[in-house]
Structure formats: structure tokens, C-alpha cells
Amino acid sequence: MNIPGGDLRPAYQELARWLKETPPEALEYRRQEAELLFRRIGITFAVYGDSESTERLIPFDVIPRIMSGKEWALLEKGLKQRVRALNMFLRDIYHGRDILRAEIVPDDLIFQNPVFRPEMNGQQVPHDVYVHIAGIDIVRVDAEDFIVLEDNARTPSGVSYMLENREIMMRLFPDLFARHRVAPVERYPDELLAALRSVAPQSASGEPTVALLTPGVYNSAYYEHSFLADKLGIELVEGRDLIVKSNEVFMRTTEGLKRVDVIYRRVDDDFLDPLTFRPDSVLGVPGLMSAYAAGNITLANAVGTGIADDKAIYSYMPDIVKFYLGEEPILKNVPTWRCREPKDLAYVLDNLSELVVKEVHGSGGYGMLIGPTATKATIEAFRDKLKREPEGFIAQPTLALSTCPTCTASGLAPRHVDLRPFVLTGSKSTTIVPGGLTRVALKEGSLVVNSSQGGGTKDTWILDE
């Protein structure tokens, strides 16, 4: 809420005033009310390997995270630039590979990467859009800059929380909304549907049929899948609902088979088609990839986008932006040491207790070393791992992430936050609803905001000045 040095960010002035006027009991009462609403609506997520409570609520903090319109304008520009570069990079990697010839990105990082999909070589995707939905994780460390923590170009989740958080905040704090001009987010489902329809294959009819493919009710993000299908007015399908015939994809309906043109898939590449990828997948659709190759179905996001959000590629993003767009990147990267490079590895090994070390292919905050808070034994264990397989890791400095006031057991206290805006790319335009999902590390001093690791969420307000 404050800029480094202690001054209040201007966007928070009204909130600070309101917090002063509002008794803590009133805040606590509304917090409980919010929790009740979430549970009744069934906004839950599942935690893998946690048999006790297979359905949990993501803790919701009622204090909004606020950003000025001016700050947002800059961020928005930076996000569009970054996603444009991600799409151009993917198109290049699966076609001409100019960037490899120019030696900006090393070959082996692509070809020896398990998320590189040779099936996509030369495959045309409508309008050259690979990443239709991107979730870019942003943090702030000072008054000016936005820093990208991570690109999510596969099946980013969390947008349902962005939308539901707003609904619940508007229900609980009408007075607070009356005192701010908060840019609305409710256009998101419409924009998503428009983007998905705009990339329908040529063989689709004038009114392309879009469906959302979910792994099913046991998936951790199932609530989101059903929520989005509902808001978009499209069928929520599982693999077993789809069938491929003469390279076209159909869903089984009570009136017989119906052709599907665009699949918003929330199933990972590996599970999409047991004939092409993991043969043991029961979540996928046999033959889907051949329908894809025949150009009769659009998958959003495209197959093989993992190569663009891989943590090893991440450190090259500033160069990637410059290479394709000839522009300076608006969003910065966290300085990153690539452990695959001997010089970097040596530095990382010498400074383990100060660094954050991440698995290149990991996600969800798992398999991470946070040097400053780790025990000696953990650090030593990580040192061995690093020496054994240096190319599997990157390291970054611990950042002084910005904080936002948050309800805690001992009253309001600052907690670290990040922001995941959702960037939509269709045939003609790239759009972002103002805001995104703010995640907050609820433990004091913690930097880990992942919901699987005890993080919570907040509503994100972009003030329309």
C-alpha cells in the first residue's frame, strides 16, 4: 500500500480513510459473511494428496488491492507487448526458428525440453494465435516498475476468483464501492467467448460451437471450469463426451452427435489424446490430435505452448521481446541465474541462503527453495540436487514484494501480494479486463502466494480516474 520510503500510494487514500472509520468487528463480521457465501456457492478447490479435506476454500481477504488507472495503463501496455512476443516466439519455434538461428535462445533448451511438442512442427493454427489465454504473474518491488514473476501460457487458472471476488465484494461493501470508481471486470466471459469464436477453424459453420474441456469433478480447478462454461454459455465436456470421426470432433448429446469447432481445454497437453501423448490418459479424446492436424478443431491454448512459459525460457524473455518486436520490454524480468550455465551455477551454489531456487518445470510453488527461510539441511539437500541436475533449476534473488493491508488474527497487517492479470488474444485483438487476481501470502513474512500453499486472494481494483 505504501511506496518504499513509507508514503501512502495515492490510490489507497480513500481506503485508508474508510479503514479508520470502520470498527474491526464490522470488518470481521463481513469477513465471516464472505466465507459463508463462498462455501454456499461451492467455490472450492481440491488439494492433491490431501485426503482430509478434498474440497477447501481459498481464503478470501476482504481488503481490496488497489491500483491507479495510470499504473494500470502502463501495465496493460506491457502485458500486451509480452503476450504478443510469446505468440510470435511460439509461431517461430514451430516453424522457421529464426530465433535459434540468431542464437538468441540456445537450441538444446528447446529440443531437449520435455514440453516442446514435435507434433506441432509446421502445424498451422488459426491466425497464428497459440496463447489465447495468458496469465502473467506480476509483482512490484518499487514505486515504478512492474516485474514479471512468471508467464502462464498453458492453462492458467484463477479467473473465476477474479470474477467471484468482485461479486462478493460488491455485495458486502456497497459503501466502499460508492466511494471509489472501480473499473468493472464482468466483461471477461464475453471477451473470452468472442476471442474463442474468432479463432474457429475455417471448416466451422458460421456459428462456431465452443466447448470447455475439463478433466472432471476431481480436478482442483473444477469449480472454475463449471463457472466459466456457465458464464460463456458453452458445454462443459469431459473427454468421454467427445468422439473423433473422420478427423472431426463431436460431442455426444441427447440428440446425437454434434460437431465442436473450438475447445477451450483445461486439460494438459500430456492428457489430451492417448493416441499421441500419454497412452494411459483417460481424460483425453483418442484422435483429437489428428483432427487438430487436419485443421478441423482449434485448441485454446494451442498444444506445445509450454515451451514459452518454461522457467528456463523465462530468463530469455527480454531478448525475445526485443527480437520479435524491436521494442524495449515494458515489463521487467526478475534477474535470473540459469544454473545450466557454469558461471551462474557457481554463483548460485555460493549464495544459496539468499536465493530462491525453482525447478524449471515445476509449478504451484512446489519444489522450490527459499534460501533465507530454509533450514541448513534443506539447503544442503538442494545443493546436492543442483549439482546433480543443474539444467533443471534457475535461481532468483528474494524480492522485497509490495504488501497490502490484510485481515489477520491480530488485526490488519501488511502481507505480500502478487497479481495475475488475464490476457486474451483473438484473431483481431488482445484484451485485458482491468485488474486480475491478486494473491496474498497470508503467513507473516511469507512470499509464497500459491493457493496450494496457504495463499489467499483479494479483489483487485483499478481506479477509473
Partner: protein, 314 residues
């Protein structure tokens, strides 16, 4: 709509209906077993309850004796009984989650709240009669809320019709099962010897399909077994009668037929059963044998379930 969605809606409604029926059965059995033995004779009513629920065989694998404690436990809470009330609500919630997009928020809220209450309040079962009464009321109210919100909030399209089909198919099955277990007390007029014992059996039957008051309004008579059979089988003004269930099934199937622009074996089969009910009278049925009639009906009814599944749900 997706076949799987239709299937989930259909089963969701069946599970809720079944849970309510089980609650009614337990309720009615509690009443009749509370009477002094002189009024109900030597029959084991808890055994009948198991039979009408269709779970007697699996019950006796787990328990020795069909007494109140064991049967209530098995029908209400047992995780090992796939049709226990608890498992019905669990299954209903799972089905609801899979078809959230096809449910109205009121329907979802009903099922989700029931599921939350089941865990928060009833996870350890019930220890007193009073608790049990509360639990049974909770189950019946859940079903009423579910039905009510479906009726009041759903679009009248195939989603609604498939859901209603689940209700009526399950309901027909339940009513038929009571008749199947109790047919021996439902004798035709000329064979009726009438003892006080039977009176409580009859009122218990009516109570389990919530038709005790209805009986008096329809017949303006004291309880007569042949009239009870008439009410439950042929009287289409009683929502739980076989005739009423089949009137509804035919209507819902016809609406689907019109919406989809074609009919199939499900429509024909349902109409066949409905016609048979329409053109029967109790004299014929008694002559043919109530037991045989009901057995045939149960087979035909589950056959309709299979046909619907094949025609629409897979």
C-alpha cells in the same frame, strides 16, 4: 444437451427422490413399531422396511438382526449401503457438481447445503429418537426444496424433462416396492376378513407415500385394503400412484420427443405401461394377482430406465 449432463440430471433427481422415500419408510416404520405388539402382530416391520428399500440381501451380509438400531443405521448412514440416505445425498451432490451449468443456483444451493449439513451435523449419525426425527425431517425438506426449486426456477426444456423423468421413474419404483412387500395385506373385498392388526399396516403404507389424508379425501371411507391398492396403483390424482407417475413420464417423454422432432422406443414403452394402467380396474388386478401385477410393473419400469438410458443418456 450433452448425454452425460442429461444422465446426471436424471440420476440427481432419482437420488433425491430415493433419499426422501427412505426417510418416509423409516418414519412410517418407527410409528408402526411403536405400537404394542397386540396391534401389529408378529411381523418384523424393520425387515419389511429393508425389503421395500430393496437392500435386504446386502443388509444380512453385514448384520444378524433386523432391529431398529441396525436398520436405521443401514438405511440412513451406512457407507456400505450404496443406497443409504447419506450415499444418496453424496451421489446427488457429486452429480450436481458435474452438471452445475445445467442447474439453477437454487437447486445447487439446496443440494450443496444439504451436503454441508450432512457433514456438519449428521456425520456421526443420530443417537436419540428425537435426533432421528430431526434427521428424517431434514431429508424430506431437502427433497421438497429440491423439487420446489426445480419447479420454480428451471427452464422448461430437456434439462427439466430429464430431471422430472428421474423423479417419476424412481417414485414409481418406490411405490411399487411397498406394494410388493405389503401385497399380502391388500386383499380384495370378498376375501377381506379384516382384523385390527391390518389397520395399522394399511395406515403405515399410506403414510410412507404421504397419502393418509389424501385417502380420506378421495374415498371418504374408513381404510379398506382394496381402496388403498386402487389409490396407489390406479388413481392418477395421487402424485405417488403408479398411474400418476406414468402420466408424468409419458408427458415428459413426449415433450422431449417434440423438442427433438422424433420419438423412439422410450416413448412407446412408457405409453404401453400407461395404457395398461389406464385400462385396468382393481377387480382385474386382484383376479390376475396383485403380486404378479406389481412384479410385472417393477420389471417394466426398470426396463423403461434402460431404454431411456440407451436412447438418450449414453
Amino acid at each position: 444437451m450433452l448425454s452425460r449432463t442429461a444422465e446426471n440430471l436424471y440420476w440427481l433427481a432419482r437420488y433425491v427422490e430415493r433419499a426422501e422415500y427412505l426417510a418416509r419408510t423409516i418414519d412410517a416404520t418407527l410409528r408402526v413399531t411403536a405400537l404394542p405388539a397386540a396391534y401389529i402382530g408378529k411381523t418384523n416391520e424393520w425387515d419389511s422396511a429393508l425389503l421395500t428399500a430393496g437392500v435386504a440381501a446386502s443388509f444380512y451380509q453385514a448384520y444378524e438382526e433386523a432391529n431398529e438400531h441396525n436398520v436405521v443405521e443401514y438405511l440412513s448412514f451406512s457407507p456400505n449401503n450404496p443406497s443409504s440416505i447419506r450415499n444418496c445425498i453424496e451421489a446427488a451432490r457429486l452429480n450436481s457438481r458435474s452438471v452445475r451449468t445445467a442447474l439453477t443456483s437454487e437447486m445447487w444451493d439446496t443440494i450443496n447445503s444439504a451436503w454441508i449439513e450432512l457433514q456438519a451435523v449428521w456425520s456421526k449419525g443420530t443417537s436419540t429418537r428425537e435426533d432421528l426425527a430431526k434427521f428424517l425431517r431434514f431429508v424430506q425438506e431437502t427433497s421438497l426444496r429440491f423439487d420446489g426449486s426445480a419447479y420454480r426456477t428451471m427452464l422448461r426444456n430437456d434439462a427439466y424433462w430429464f430431471s422430472r423423468m428421474g423423479v417419476h421413474l424412481e417414485r414409481a419404483d418406490n411405490t411399487a416396492r411397498i406394494l410388493d412387500v405389503k401385497y399380502h395385506v391388500l386383499l380384495p373385498e370378498e376375501e377381506h376378513v379384516g382384523g385390527p392388526l391390518d389397520f395399522y399396516q394399511w395406515s403405515s403404507i399410506l403414510r410412507s407415500v404421504s397419502a393418509l389424508t389424501a385417502y380420506h379425501w378421495v374415498y371418504r371411507e374408513t381404510l379398506k385394503p382394496w381402496l388403498i391398492a386402487d389409490l396407489l396403483i390406479l388413481n392418477d390424482t395421487l402424485p405417488r400412484s403408479l398411474a400418476s407417475c406414468y402420466g408424468n413420464l409419458v408427458r415428459n417423454l413426449d415433450q422431449i420427443g417434440v423438442a427433438y422432432g422424433r420419438q423412439g422406443p422410450a416413448q412407446r414403452h412408457a405409453r404401453g405401461i400407461r395404457n395398461r394402467l389406464e385400462h385396468s380396474n382393481m377387480n382385474d388386478i386382484f383376479q390376475h394377482g396383485v403380486h404378479e401385477f406389481i412384479q410385472e410393473f417393477i420389471t417394466d419400469n426398470s426396463r423403461l430406465g434402460e431404454i431411456i438410458t440407451k436412447q438418450y443418456l449414453i
